[in-house]
Amino acid sequence: MAATFQLDVVTPERLVISGKASYVSAPGKDGRFGVLPGHTPFVSLLTAGELTITMQGEGAEQHVALSSGYVEVTNERVTVLVQRALEKSQINREEAVREEKEATAKLAGIPQGGLEAVTWSKRCDFAKICLQIAQLPN
């Protein structure tokens, strides 16, 4: 059994992370799960949350903020497909604060359940997660 797998984190706009990893933990729709090399193939929906990665040869964990999306696990690769993803180092705190405020304000002004509300609540969730991750110690 291989000790690593190919990990790709992809958004519609770019390839965020691509490399060999030895462990990831992802926020599944039905609860958090971890993947080690050689996991049974499966496909799952992801909710907005934190993706934790241990890359090959690196002791420290990497933290990535994710918006909702999908994950596909096969024997030798894990592909995370999400609308937005930001690594901890890429998170801009002020921007996240501003985005959260804007989204919250918008949400208060529009009827719930509509298309627009869904978009804004997604943005709000993502901004909150960015803030959480930014506060983690290194």
Binding site: D8, V10, T11, P12, E13, R14, L15, G28, K29, D30, T40, P41, F42, V43, S44, L45, Y70, E72, V73, T74, N75, E76, T79, L81, Q83, R84, L115, E116, T119, R123
Partner: protein, 290 residues
């Protein structure tokens, strides 16, 4: 014979035009590089999504699957036409417009009802008189700060809502795909109902789905539409910049040719004027002698 002053003016004005087209060429070359990068970095995502949908669709019966997959029975077609917001880009817009015009005619001949969504101002400007009430929606200004979220919120959400309300049965995207700065290719892509490649082989055995297959598919399919719309926008944007760069390059060259020709004409006219003057002087001198 044209007089010297007016020729001088013309040369000056053509030179100005050349300067402008040269600047526009530079601008679109810079934009092209950015758009091209965006188109390239958008590719892995849409490939992955397509592959996932393919693998998943292979396990679900298309008849009982979500509405986005069931083969269409109705005869109402929605065309989504991607053009530029601005002109001066050679045959970029006209190629799409011509294709849509003939498609609308042929579809209506065969008894379909056609509606059109225009993405980009140019297409709508040209076709609004002809299409009249067939135009369902117009979206402009999207290629500036194009993000997936915006494409999703502006174009796809309307498409999906209209489809859910039963306003059309089939949806086809028409756009230019970027091949190189010199060549673009007109592309038709049916997104509703989604045409999936179910031959996709699943490596390492059939995966498990969490939640159920049908739940995942129900989420994945609308997202797939969104991805394809975004893909069309990005490709169309890159082709637009490429087409504009080529068009402006040609314009610069043509202006150069014209300046050269006008220069020759100017010099000839000047020489002719000098010759005439000389003839007159010599003529005058001769008559004094005699």
């Amino acid at each position: 014979m044209a007089n010297l002053k007016s020729l001088r003016n013309r040369i000056r004005s053509v030179k100005n035009t050349r300067q402008i087209t040269k600047a526009m060429k530079m601008v679109s070359a810079a934009k092209l590089r950015r758009s091209q990068e965006r188109a390239q970095s958008a590719r892995p995502y849409s490939q992955h999504i397509r592959r996932m949908i393919g693998a998943l669709a292979a396990q679900v019966d298309p008849q009982s699957g979500p509405a986005l997959m069931v083969p269409a029975k109705g005869k109402r077609v929605e065309l989504v036409m991607f053009t530029a917001d601005r002109g001066l880009c050679g045959s970029f817009n006209s190629a799409v417009i011509r294709a849509v015009r003939s498609k609308v005619a042929s579809l209506e001949e065969s008894g379909h009802t056609v509606t059109v969504t225009c993405v980009g101002r140019k297409g709508h400007d040209v076709l609004k008189r002809q299409l009249k009430s067939r135009v369902r929606r117009v979206h402009t200004g999207l290629t500036k700060n194009l993000t997936f979220e915006r494409a999703d919120a502006v174009v796809t959400s309307h498409l999906l809502a209209d489809f859910a309300n039963g306003e059309f049965d089939v949806c086809i995207l028409v756009y230019n795909t970027f091949k190189s700065a010199l060549s673009i290719e007109l592309t038709w892509k049916q997104v509703i109902p989604m045409t999936v490649d179910t031959r996709e082989e699943v490596r390492g055995g059939a995966p498990e789905y969490e939640p159920e297959e049908s739940d995942v598919l129900a989420e994945l399919l609308p997202h797939g539409v969104s991805v394809q719309v975004f893909h069309a926008l990005v490709e169309s944007d890159a082709s637009e910049q490429g087409a504009r760069m080529t068009a402006m390059d040609n314009a610069v060259r043509n202006a150069g040719d014209m300046i050269r020709k006008l220069g020759i004409k100017y010099n000839r006219t000047r020489q002719a004027a000098i010759t005439t003057e000389l003839m007159e002087i010599i003529g005058g001198a001769e008559s004094l002698k005699g």
